[in-house]
């Protein structure tokens, strides 16, 4: 964490947990200098000066192709794209599918909190069926969207796809480390991370954790 800049995330947000774990792994592996963190739009953009590593913002849905360009230009970099579920699976899906299919040696971290958080809690691809959001006031009619499972049919056998959660930091750290190692071996990696958003969920303490845990019934943890 960059001590000169206060966190811009809401109290209780899951993003800082992911960034903290990522930072620890990069530091332990001696990769902080090579690492470059690209940010999609939405809450991910708040990570602009969260870590003491090269970081830049991009546009909504566009962190993936930007990191493709960066990595191809500098193959020794550790190119990381941080995005929400909307950036990855809605507006950015076409670019994500093709980056995965081409086995681009980049790592995409997708925060799944089942809604568009920054814009005020609208329906996301990952919104559960029946979930009420500001754009689904009568409950979401769509089935859930399973990003890593979708990509599974496209990717190289050496690519790494997994789903973790912010309340299981040990496993999540393992996934992040494997994802980075996969990139170093020249392959695509994506980790979807179930995260909480007490601001938009309008939950407190125990309820926030309970809701996160209940998401695991729909979104199965593990290596996909």
């Amino acid at each position: 964490m960059n001590q000169n800049n206060l966190s811009k995330f809401c109290p209780g947000c899951g993003y800082p947990i992911v960034l903290g774990l990522l930072s620890k792994i990069l530091s332990e592996k001696g990769l902080s200098g090579q690492a470059v963190l690209g940010l999609d739009i939405g809450c991910s953009l708040l990570a602009i000066n969260h870590l003491d590593i090269n970081t830049f913002q991009t546009h909504h849905g566009r962190v993936t192709p930007t990191m493709v360009g960066f990595k191809r230009a500098r193959p020794d970099s550790i190119s990381l794209g941080l995005t929400g579920d909307g950036g990855a699976y809605a507006i950015g899906l076409q670019n994500l599918l093709w980056a995965a299919k081409r086995d681009e040696a980049i790592t995409i971290l997708v925060i799944n909190n089942t809604l568009y958080a920054m814009t005020g809690g609208q329906t996301a691809p990952t919104t559960l069926k029946g979930q009420i959001t500001s754009t689904s006031p009568h409950g979401n009619e769509e089935e859930s969207f399973f990003g890593p499972e979708l990509l599974k049919s496209l990717v190289n056998e050496k690519a790494f796809l997994a789903r973790g959660a912010v309340n299981d930091p040990k496993t999540l750290s393992e996934y992040l480390a494997t994802a980075i190692a996969t990139q170093q071996a020249g392959h695509f990696s994506l980790v979807e991370i179930l995260s909480f958003c007490p601001t938009n969920w309008r939950t407190r303490g125990a309820d926030t954790l309970a809701r996160l845990n209940s998401l695991k019934e729909t979104y199965k943890m593990g290596i996909i």
Partner: protein, 341 residues
């Protein structure tokens, strides 16, 4: 191709050669007429490239590559040029030296496939910004070569995106090309160097921060103008009538001026080469002696809009126009128009 040697080349071949001579190391593209041959020509030379899934990905991959410090470019047209505005807007906001060769094919919608001059406003002012880009309009193959190299150098020097705005007629036409002596390209630095710990925003949380950033960008843009503005002035010393045209219509207008001069008419040509920044100072200087001005373009007044905006308010010059959207303009038509009015 060695310096001073002659070769019959298409515009696309010249553009590819210019990109390479400018030091371009990578191209991202999505095929679209009339710039597909720039892409395939680049690839046939075994230069590094990636054919992306769409122009959006091509544009943002250019941004990523440029952030990493590689001279990188794309080529696109019409609807692809529209999609590319997303990435161009990011490049404008983050001051990235994004280079694009645009072959105008007109519009709205998918336009035609080969020719128009209807992407002037899009190239100059597309995106949710203030048009802080460099847009160069070549009239022939020599200029296509020189302006493409200049686009790379200016983009990396001044940190604004640069567009070489051409069309399918110029890209697909073959002509004898003599390669000029190469000048040294400027040295470049990666915006995101290893271990530099930079934090580059594309979004500003506070209105005041964006306001301040734009004020700095405008200052940079305005102070660079004197080095970037380019125009050809032809037969203007005693001219009373001025034709303003750009690109290959400018080449046609030059022939028209020669024809009218032979008839004893005091006609001159002002051909803006940089459409953005527009050569405001030289246009206004020329206008001190001009009674009548004709804007000639293959569009419904896109160049005319730029011209009108740049004319100082104390000139009361009469402006007439020849608008031929999607069609090429022969010198005879220009002569006819001037003689009629």
């Amino acid at each position: 191709m060695s310096e001073n040697s002659k070769q019959l080349l298409t515009g696309s071949q010249v553009a590819v050669m210019a990109c390479r001579d400018a030091g371009a190391q990578m191209m991202y593209g999505y095929p679209i007429t009339p710039t597909s041959e720039v892409f395939s020509g680049w690839i046939q030379n075994d230069y590094p490239y990636l054919q992306t899934e769409d122009e959006v990905a091509a544009g943002f991959a250019v941004c990523g590559s440029v952030l990493a410090g590689k001279k990188t470019f794309t080529a696109t047209a019409g609807p692809g040029h529209v999609l590319m505005q997303d990435a161009l807007s990011m490049a404008e906001g983050m001051r990235l030296p994004f280079v694009a060769i645009v072959g105008q094919r007109g519009g709205p919608s998918s336009g035609t496939v080969i020719y128009s001059q209807q992407e002037v406003i899009l190239a100059c002012f597309g995106g949710n910004g203030e048009g802080m880009r460099l847009v160069y309009s070549p009239a022939n193959l020599d200029e296509l070569y020189q302006l493409t190299i200049k686009a790379f150098n200016d983009a990396w020097k001044y940190k604004f995106p640069a567009i070489v705005l051409t069309d399918g007629y110029l890209l697909k036409a073959s002509a004898v090309f003599v390669k000029p002596k190469l000048l040294a390209n400027i040295s470049i630095q990666a915006p995101v160097a290893q271990s530099a710990n930079v934090h580059l925003p594309s979004i500003y949380t506070l209105e005041e921060d964006l306001h301040e950033k734009l004020a700095k960008d405008k200052k940079d843009f305005d102070s660079a103008r004197q080095y970037l503005e380019m125009a050809e002035e032809y037969m203007i010393d005693d001219a009373e009538i001025l034709i303003v045209a750009h690109g290959i219509v400018g080449a046609s207008a030059k022939q028209a001026v020669q024809d009218m001069r032979a008839q004893g008419k005091k006609v001159g040509l002002f051909r803006p080469i940089s459409l953005r920044p527009f050569p405001k100072k030289s246009l206004n200087f020329v206008l001190t002696k001009i009674k009548k001005l004709y804007v000639v373009e293959s569009a419904l007044g896109q160049l005319e809009r730029l011209v009108r905006e740049e004319i100082e308010s104390d000139f009361s010059v009469q402006i007439k126009s020849l608008h031929y959207p999607a069609l090429g303009i022969e010198p005879e038509e220009i002569v006819k128009m001037v003689n009629k009015n």
